[in-house]
Structures are given as structure tokens and as C-alpha cells.
């Protein structure tokens, strides 16, 4: 159950994509989701797929990881595609019409495009999390949030919170599993009975976890203070992010892709 967590799973490697600056990777991944919406015909989607597949090949990560990323979502994607086919603004040749449901040529074509869009977004975001350690990602988020300092947003504090949170996810996950097993041993059935019984089963899960988390936070605070933590301003860094030539080249690659998409779109 716990091992299914795809978020933050990092596959170590030494490819171009692994060595890229995490800031570049994060921003370009967001940018990619944005430019997917330029695509509106089969040529542009084919180009996007070719680009994504090239990036995956470059990363040297096994294909199966990406397929496994899509698998648990496949029913949901198909459901959205069917919704799109049945309820989208209709156009083109109408094949079937009943009440508010319309199956039209345009609806079917759009359904296929939406399927592609889902798969592309999932592939690209999986590539980001598989090639970037979570701590590098939170460093990147800190840099990207920096402009918010102008409005007195506590950037350093939030970035540190995020790093600690990511560090604690596996620890608390183990603890959750331990508490669940402890309650199972006492006869609590998870996932059985009616809504009310299921709600009641959650109480002996949440209380111990919250209490132990609050205690853990106090210990952590003591440890931080003992090591002389006093606010984020002016702290030096262990991991220093550097923008290399390769990041500039990859950014240029995305610019070329954007130009090609604009040129090819209908």
C-alpha cells in the first residue's frame, strides 16, 4: 500500500536530465503543461509526444516507471474522455443525439486529444519527480518563491517547512502503518461496515498520530535550537544551485518546440 507512492520517488542516475538545475526542470515542466494547450491537431500532438519520448530516453529511466504512472489513473482518464465526448460543445457531423447527450465528430476528436494531453502531462511530471530528489525540488521552490519576499511572505520559513515535511513523510508513513496494525490487532476493521462504523474506525488512528506528531515537533524544535537555529535570513546553504550551459540549451530546446507548435497548429 505504502510503496505505491509515486510522488517523490527518485531514481538515481547521471543523465543530462538528472544533472540539470532543479529550478530549470521545475519551471520547464510547468511551461510544458502550458504549451500543451497550443496543440490542436495531430501534427502538434505527434511533435509533443516525440519531444516527451526523447526526454524520457535521455533520462535513461526505465519505460515501465512511466507506464506504471499512468496505469492507476487509466479509468479516471477514460471517464473524463467519455464525459468530454458526451458533453462537449458539439460541432462537425452529429452521430447521435439524446437529451443533453450528443456524440459528434468534434467531440470524438477532442476526446482523443484530451487523452493525449493527460498522458503527456503525467509523463512529464513523472519525469520531473523521478529525476529530481525531493530536497532539490524544495530548494527550487524556495528560489522561485523569492519574489514573494517583497510582500513579506516568509519564504525561508516556508521552504524550510517544506524540506522538513518531505523529510518526515516516510517517517510518519511508517508510524501510520504501525498505528494501523496496532489497531487491527485490537480488532478494528478498516474498510468494513457502514459509513458510521468506518468513521468511528478513524478516531483511534488520528488521535495517536496527532499526539505523536506534536511530540515529535517539540523534539525537533529542541534539536534545532540546540544547533543554534535562529530564523532563515542570512543562512548559508549546503546545496548550492548553479545554472549551467546545459540548462540554457534545454531552455532553448523548449523555445524551439514552442515555435514549432505555433507554426504547425491549425
Amino acid at each position: 500500500m505504502m510503496s505505491k507512492l509515486i510522488f517523490g520517488r527518485y531514481i538515481p542516475g547521471d543523465s543530462l536530465i538528472h544533472r540539470m538545475d532543479p529550478r530549470a526542470k521545475l519551471l520547464l515542466s510547468f511551461y510544458f503543461i502550458g504549451i500543451i494547450f497550443i496543440a490542436n491537431n495531430w501534427q502538434t500532438y505527434a511533435l509533443l509526444f516525440a519531444f516527451t519520448l526523447a526526454a524520457i530516453t535521455l533520462s535513461g529511466v526505465k519505460w515501465s516507471f512511466f507506464i506504471n504512472g499512468v496505469k492507476p489513473l487509466i479509468w479516471l482518464i477514460l471517464f473524463t474522455v467519455i464525459l468530454q465526448i458526451l458533453f462537449s460543445a458539439s460541432g462537425g457531423k452529429v452521430y447521435w443525439h439524446w437529451g443533453i447527450i450528443t456524440i459528434s465528430q468534434l467531440g470524438l476528436v477532442n476526446g482523443v486529444y484530451i487523452f493525449c494531453r493527460f498522458v503527456l502531462i503525467i509523463f512529464m511530471s513523472t519525469l520531473l519527480t523521478l529525476t529530481t530528489p525531493p530536497l532539490e525540488l524544495s530548494d527550487a521552490i524556495e528560489y522561485i518563491l523569492m519574489p514573494l519576499k517583497a510582500v513579506h511572505f516568509p519564504v525561508y520559513e516556508v521552504a524550510l517547512m517544506l524540506s522538513i515535511a518531505l523529510r518526515f513523510v516516510p517517517t510518519l508513513m511508517d508510524e501510520t502503518e504501525k498505528i494501523m496494525n496496532a489497531q487491527r490487532a485490537r480488532g478494528v476493521d478498516f474498510g468494513e461496515g457502514n459509513l458510521f462504523q468506518q468513521m468511528r474506525a478513524i478516531v483511534p488512528l488520528l488521535i495517536p498520530l496527532f499526539v505523536s506528531s506534536f511530540n515529535r515537533a517539540e523534539d525537533l524544535a529542541t534539536a534545532m535550537e540546540a544547533r543554534g537555529y535562529q530564523g532563515g535570513e542570512g543562512r548559508s546553504k549546503f546545496r548550492i544551485l548553479k545554472w549551467h550551459a546545459r540548462d540554457a540549451w534545454v531552455t532553448l530546446g523548449f523555445a524551439v518546440l514552442t515555435a514549432a507548435l505555433v507554426f504547425l497548429r491549425a
Binding site: L73, L83, F87, I122, E157, L166, M199, A217
Partner: protein
């Protein structure tokens, strides 16, 4: 225990954020899967944060939950609803921030009037309802005239169904929060500074 240092503040919020991340992926812990419905328990974490740490921190924890929902709506949607409506940050983030604000101030008011247990129950119910009502209201407001959302599905045609789904999730969620918040809250209020 009487400490109110910056380090404590950062570590407690970090641990709460970690809990929210875990609740997003572990069933029975973060959500109750029922046929056709999926009742979340994440709002309870936000309400507890708001009650124990105050409205501002509740808003922060709620905002993180909203951000996770927003990002997941693109890359790993949790329900058929998510890609349709939660891809809009106004619907996924803002109501969740306001859970923390609403629940936090409500509890402060009741505590001042010496009714902390009633305050915890009401903070739970009202916090959950703020989320449900704002999500429904914003969908109604944003999509009743403008047809297409992120995936071009004509949301205005689906509106009655969408609102029914959200309401049928919202009522058990409010009941759950009303029962669980006083139970968990009283155990944690000793951490309040």
C-alpha cells in the same frame, strides 16, 4: 511546553504538512473510499491546525492542501471531479485557506465565552461546510455562463450533477468533522500556547 519559538512553529507546521501529504495517499487515513463517494478526512487536519495553532497557521496548512489538490488535478487526479473543477486554483485553493480562517476564529470566540467543547464541534462542522459551500458556490459562479473548463467539457450542462456529488460528499464530511474535531482537539489543546 511553554515555548513559542520560531523553531517550534516551523517544525509543527512541517509535521502537519507531512500528515496532509500522507493523507493524500493512504486510504482510511486520509479518505474513506465508499462506492461512488470518497469522504476526505484531510479537512480535519486543517481544522485541528486552525484550532490548536490559530487561524493564520490553519490558513497556511489549508493553503498547502489546496496547492496539493490543484497540482494533483493535473498530474494525478483523485476523482473524476478533479480534472473538471480543481484545475482552477480559485476553486481548489481559496476554499481550503478559508477553512482554516473560519474554524480558527470561531474557536477563539467560543473559547473566550468559556465553551471550548462546543467551539470545537462547531469549528469542525463550520470548517467543513465552508469548504463544501465555497466549492459549490464558486463552480456555480464561474461556470454557469462560461461553458468550458480546463478540459473543454461543457460544465454548465453537468452542473446539477456536479453540485449533487459535492453536496453528498459535503454532508458526511461535516458530520465527521463535527464528531472528530472535539475528540482529537481536546487531546491536543494542551499543546496550545
Amino acid at each position: 511546553m511553554q515555548r513559542r519559538s520560531n523553531a517550534y512553529h516551523i517544525s509543527i507546521l512541517a509535521v502537519l504538512i507531512a500528515i496532509i501529504i500522507i493523507q493524500n495517499v493512504v486510504p482510511f487515513f486520509g479518505y474513506i473510499p465508499l462506492p461512488g463517494l470518497s469522504i476526505t478526512t484531510i479537512h480535519i487536519t486543517v481544522i485541528i491546525a486552525a484550532v490548536v495553532l490559530g487561524p493564520k497557521d490553519g490558513a497556511l496548512v489549508g493553503g498547502i492542501w489546496g496547492l496539493i489538490t490543484w497540482i494533483r488535478a493535473f498530474i494525478a487526479p483523485t476523482s473524476p471531479l478533479a480534472p473538471l473543477v480543481f484545475t482552477n486554483p480559485l476553486i481548489s485553493v481559496v476554499p481550503r485557506i478559508l477553512i482554516g480562517v473560519g474554524a480558527g476564529y470561531l474557536f477563539i470566540w467560543f473559547q473566550r465565552h468559556q465553551r471550548p467543547t462546543l467551539g470545537l464541534t462547531l469549528a469542525g462542522v463550520v470548517g467543513a461546510l465552508i469548504n463544501t459551500i465555497l466549492v459549490m458556490g464558486l463552480i456555480g459562479l464561474l461556470y454557469s455562463h462560461q461553458a468550458a473548463g480546463f478540459y473543454q467539457v461543457d460544465i454548465s450542462k453537468l452542473m446539477p450533477y456536479l453540485l449533487t456529488i459535492i453536496a453528498s460528499n459535503g454532508i458526511p464530511e461535516a458530520a465527521l468533522a463535527g464528531i472528530l474535531t472535539p475528540l482529537i482537539g481536546t487531546a491536543l489543546l494542551r499543546f496550545k500556547h
